[in-house]
Amino acid sequence: MHMMKSIKLLVLIILTCTSAEVVAQATEKVEMADVLRQEGKIYTVVVGLVIILTALIILLIRVDKRISRLESQEKMKL
């Protein structure tokens, strides 16, 4: 339950960020988009890596949580 909440929050944040970008583009304030193309586009790589890292960490935490649940089930059996 706790996990679902945090995932929902994450999705909300991502959606808010992306929609803010769309609004910025519509009003021709393309600063956000510019930043992502500056300095040899290194920011694009960073964004990509952060997304991958986030996904991996969520996966790791979920596995961790599932193992914890199994462990407490095992304890109750004994």
């Binding site: 706790h2 290194i42 890596l49 596995v63 193992i67 914890s68 649940r69 095992e74 109750m76």
Partner: protein, 230 residues
């Protein structure tokens, strides 16, 4: 499912949160903080934050594994055998990652995916020696026999691995740090900007390796308990 009401509330322990923070810092600062401008290396110097940390993590887990094997031989407690086995698994995984990332870096700076550099060859040999550990384990049925033989083999592997990757490459010319005239990882050789990330990277990747190892170990213990009941 009614058990979720009885369950203790799950919370991440502090060191796992620290791992996450350090990894985010490594990935973000590792690309954005300036690095020394050097010929040939160019931006590839940033792979230091990732490639070299794979070896750090691998060593941490190999040391843990060798230590667990020694403990197993001393106490005959099967829990140490589980620790040694799971530790080697994760260490091997990180070693393979180190080798693969190193190959791409070598292609960009030395001009070939694989050179006859002693450190490369010796690491490959070392990992092959460790891969025989898995073969040895899977070929033995009896738990005590498997534990004892693989513990001895694991200690021998570790004893061979250390001279292979730390001593022998330093005695000849190698393109790696610490050999020939190359400086090694020393406090004053490394640029200040890189040190800002290097220490966080070491801690972050090592903690990640340890986290994955504990997950493997806990799964193994669950499986053991499950097998005992059935």
């Amino acid at each position: 499912m009614s058990e979720k009401y009885i369950m203790r509330k799950y919370s991440l322990s502090w060191w796992k949160i620290l791992t996450v923070i350090l990894l985010y810092y490594t990935v973000i600062a590792g690309f954005l903080i300036p690095v020394p401008r050097l010929h040939i290396l160019n931006e590839s110097i940033r792979l230091n934050y990732f490639h070299v940390r794979m070896w750090f993590t691998m060593m941490l887990l190999f040391i843990n594994s060798a230590w667990s094997s020694i403990q197993y031989l001393r106490t005959q407690n099967i829990a140490f055998d589980d620790k040694a086995n799971e530790s080697v698994k994760v260490a091997f995984f990180f070693g393979a990652l180190g080798l693969i990332t190193g190959m791409f870096w070598a292609n960009a700076t030395w001009g070939a995916f694989w050179t006859s550099d002693p450190k490369l060859n010796n690491t490959a040999i070392g990992l092959l020696i460790y891969s025989a550990y898995f073969v040895l384990r899977s070929s033995l049925e009896d738990e005590t026999q498997r534990g004892r033989l693989s513990a001895v083999y694991n200690i021998v592997s570790f004893a061979v691995f250390i001279p292979l990757i730390f001593i022998l490459p330093r005695m000849t010319d190698s393109l790696h740090p610490g050999s020939g005239n190359n400086p090694t990882f020393r406090l004053f050789d490394t640029s200040h900007e890189m040190k800002l990330v290097i220490y966080a990277a070491i801690a972050g990747w090592m903690l990640l390796g340890w986290w994955i190892y504990t997950l493997f170990l806990r799964l193994r213990l669950l499986k053991n308990a499950h097998d005992e009941i059935n």
